[in-house]
């Protein structure tokens, strides 16, 4: 038995951990240690990857590549491979993962089980749109080959299926061509949500990556920074010889040890005293950068990956992340209402991220992304006060007919989950009876 936390560090319960290392032996391990749950790299914030006092099947030992076709960009690999390892190997060869979230320190299995999204959802959809097939081990001991034509229902249940349909052992992914590791970026400060939506709409066509940071303490004025970026082609990058030196410096930096939060401070470093100045300073700093620039994809897309264990700065009680999506219609009002509720509560959020999703339905039965606008917020855990604030946010999301993201959740009530995920009963039929998580028991009863 070993204590295991998710990224939010809200709990540290004992788990009976079984390390999966050989893909040929996954099914027997599951059959011998059930009921249990797959655990990837623990980058989910809440309880979706936890099974307190029960079995946990650790997948990061399943980290082998299996095949790659240089002509088509199809990659077959084990499910514990980190997205970072795929990117670092294939970007220099001109291929990249079409979708990555705000950290690349997650596993392929975790990316599929939460059907993760990135800053380019409006252009290319979510991770699952690029998964061609998987092999799935069930706790009965069988291993199934899934794809979209032979087994569409189980495929659609497994994508975004929170690990509840079986353990993904291997996956076939479609990579996309890239000309360089560089992005051409533009940073634009904005005032108020109306301006944000104007920028988002205007960018949707011509910009592949869009995201914004918003100062959620500013209330009505809701000022923020809008960032957009496009990949640079090889000739564009070659026309900028100065990039070579920057790339060399970057590679040097990423090969040395990353910075690390050295200890858990006794109190959260994120508090009323630090937040306001931080948000102001961040805003002013980013504003200085407004305009066009060129960025390497790593620092642009994964700004926190070089600060290891940054989640410790929230202190020993951990933190919640709250990510919702609400439909575009009424979306602006709902987001404004959430920002107002946060400003009124005085419970700050460090970095609030606001972004629009494109007009496409996800393929997974329980996938999070849907057309609309998504707001993601971090809250240090201050007990009852924090929970009450999130209850108020729930009411706004419910009213707006939105949903919360399970990868981030640790506390949503069952009725909000059921209202947000209408394909839940369809999903239930595909579950593996030998798999259960803290979240599935909380939200589905088993």
């Amino acid at each position: 038995m070993k204590p295991v936390s998710a990224w939010g560090r809200l709990s540290n319960d004992l788990h009976d951990v079984h390390v999966l290392t050989d893909r040929a032996h996954v099914a027997p391990v599951l059959a011998a240690h059930r009921p249990g749950l797959a655990f990837g790299n623990g980058r989910s914030y809440g309880d979706v990857c936890l099974n307190p006092h029960g079995h946990l099947w650790h997948t990061t030992g399943l980290n082998k590549f299996m095949a790659f076709d240089d002509a088509t960009g199809r990659l077959v690999c084990e499910a514990g491979v980190l997205l970072r390892d795929i990117q670092r190997l294939f970007v220099p060869r001109g291929w990249m993962l079409p979708v990555t979230p705000g950290t690349q320190l997650i596993t392929v299995g975790g990316a599929i089980a939460n059907d993760v999204h990135g800053k380019n959802h409006h252009a290319v959809g979510s991770f699952g749109d690029h998964v061609l097939g998987v092999s799935l081990a069930r706790t009965t001991g069988e291993v199934l080959s899934l794809d979209w034509t032979q087994t569409p229902a189980l495929m659609s249940a497994t994508l975004g299926g929170l690990g509840l349909t079986g353990v993904i052992v291997t996956a076939e992914l479609q990579l996309r061509r890239v000309g360089s590791p560089w992005l051409r970026t533009e940073t634009l400060p904005y005032q108020g949500l109306t301006e944000f939506f104007e920028l988002a709409d205007a960018s949707e066509h011509d910009w592949e990556h869009t995201v914004s940071w918003i100062d959620c303490l500013a209330g009505q004025t809701a000022r923020g920074i809008f960032m957009r970026a496009n990949p640079m082609s090889a000739p564009q990058a070659a026309a900028m010889p100065s990039l070579k030196a920057v790339l060399a410096a970057h590679q040097q930096k990423t090969q040395s040890q990353p910075l690390r939060m050295p200890f858990v401070p006794p109190l959260s470093l994120v508090n009323g005293l630090s937040l306001k100045p931080f948000n102001m300073a961040y805003y002013e700093l980013q504003k200085l950068k407004s305009g066009f620039d060129v960025a390497h994809y790593e620092p642009f897309s994964y700004p926190l990956d070089n600060l290891q264990d940054w989640n410790r700065m929230y202190g020993p009680r951990g933190f919640y992340q709250y990510q919702s999506v609400v439909p575009r219609e009424g979306g602006q009002l709902a987001v404004q209402a959430m920002l107002d509720a946060i400003a009124a509560s005085g419970e700050g959020s460090f970095l609030a991220v606001l972004k629009t999703f494109g007009n496409r339905e996800a393929k997974g039965m329980l996938s999070f992304p849907e057309p609309g606008v998504t707001l993601a917020l971090d809250f240090p855990n201050r007990g009852q006060r924090t929970l009450q604030l999130m209850d108020r946010l729930d009411a706004i999301v419910r009213e707006a007919k939105g949903r919360l993201y399970m990868a981030k959740d640790a506390r949503m009530p069952r009725d909000l989950f059921e209202a947000g995920y209408p394909r839940l009963s369809e999903f239930a039929a595909h579950r593996d009876a030998g798999i259960s998580s803290a979240m599935s028991r909380r939200l589905m009863g088993v």
Partner: protein, 247 residues
């Protein structure tokens, strides 16, 4: 292309060393394992990482001297060897070894006798060409016997003393012998220890130290480096202090 041979290629440390090697430059790799399917899975991974590398897979018995001789002869007949990394081992529980003489015998064979036989078999052809590096993974456990793992430690101690003698023998040649002594490392072999809360080095870091140590031809490589200091202290503790420690 360098020809690198890995004995025990499915071990996590060996696998990560191989990843670093193919990442640095295309190489000819000969992977030797006990289990063909598992060794093939390692080979496939390395081929994706480095399509220009030339990866070969072989299986061998690891405790039968005649089989070891056949395996090594076959390898050196295919292509001259630049580096051989002898990496296999099993962490047999001390309790099991005390209770069961057969388990004790097996642990001594696999962790001690077998690496020595492989090294000896490679030495001859490498001395003949006067070129190459023989790297053997020992352990800090071989530095001083302790009640919690002295059967494993004794086997690794055999490897240490053997490497030392071989370094003496080959001192006047261009063949280098590198003895690697990892501390507890986070691998499948140690997952029980990890479950008990023991702090461990990551296998990536250890692999980096091994690859660097082999490249520089250092006679002894402690990894992570801090273990050199720790073992210096442990080895020099007077017996009356040492015997009171629960380690």
């Amino acid at each position: 292309m360098q020809h690198i041979v890995i004995i025990g290629a499915t071990s996590a440390m060996a696998e990560h060393c191989a990843r670093l090697w193919v990442q640095a430059a295309p190489v000819r790799l000969t992977l030797v394992g006990r289990d063909e399917a598992r060794t093939r899975r390692v080979a496939d991974d390395l081929r994706v990482r480095s399509p220009q590398s030339d990866v070969h897979v072989m299986t061998s018995d690891f405790v039968d001297a005649a089989a070891i001789q056949r395996t090594v002869s076959h390898i050196v007949n295919q292509a001259a060897v630049d580096v051989v990394l002898i990496a296999h081992g099993v962490l047999s529980g001390q309790g099991t070894c005390q209770d069961d003489l057969l388990a004790c015998d097996a642990a001594l064979q696999v962790n001690g006798v077998s690496p020595v036989l492989f090294a000896e078999a490679f030495a001859k052809p490498m001395v003949a060409t006067n070129h190459g590096t023989i790297a053997i993974i020992g352990s800090v456990a071989g530095d001083r016997g302790r009640k919690t793992n002295y059967v494993y430690g004794a086997a690794k101690g055999l490897v240490s003393r053997y490497a030392q003698g071989m370094q003496h023998r080959l001192a006047q040649t261009n063949v280098k012998v590198v003895l690697i002594k990892p501390g507890p490392t986070d691998t499948p072999m140690t997952s029980d220890l990890k479950a008990k809360g023991q702090k461990m080095a990551s296998v990536e870091v250890v692999a980096q130290d091994i690859v660097k140590g082999i490249a520089s031809g250092k006679p002894v490589v402690y990894t992570p480096g801090i273990w050199q200091v720790i073992m210096l202290v442990v080895m020099h503790l007077p017996r009356f202090v040492f015997n009171k420690l629960n380690i």
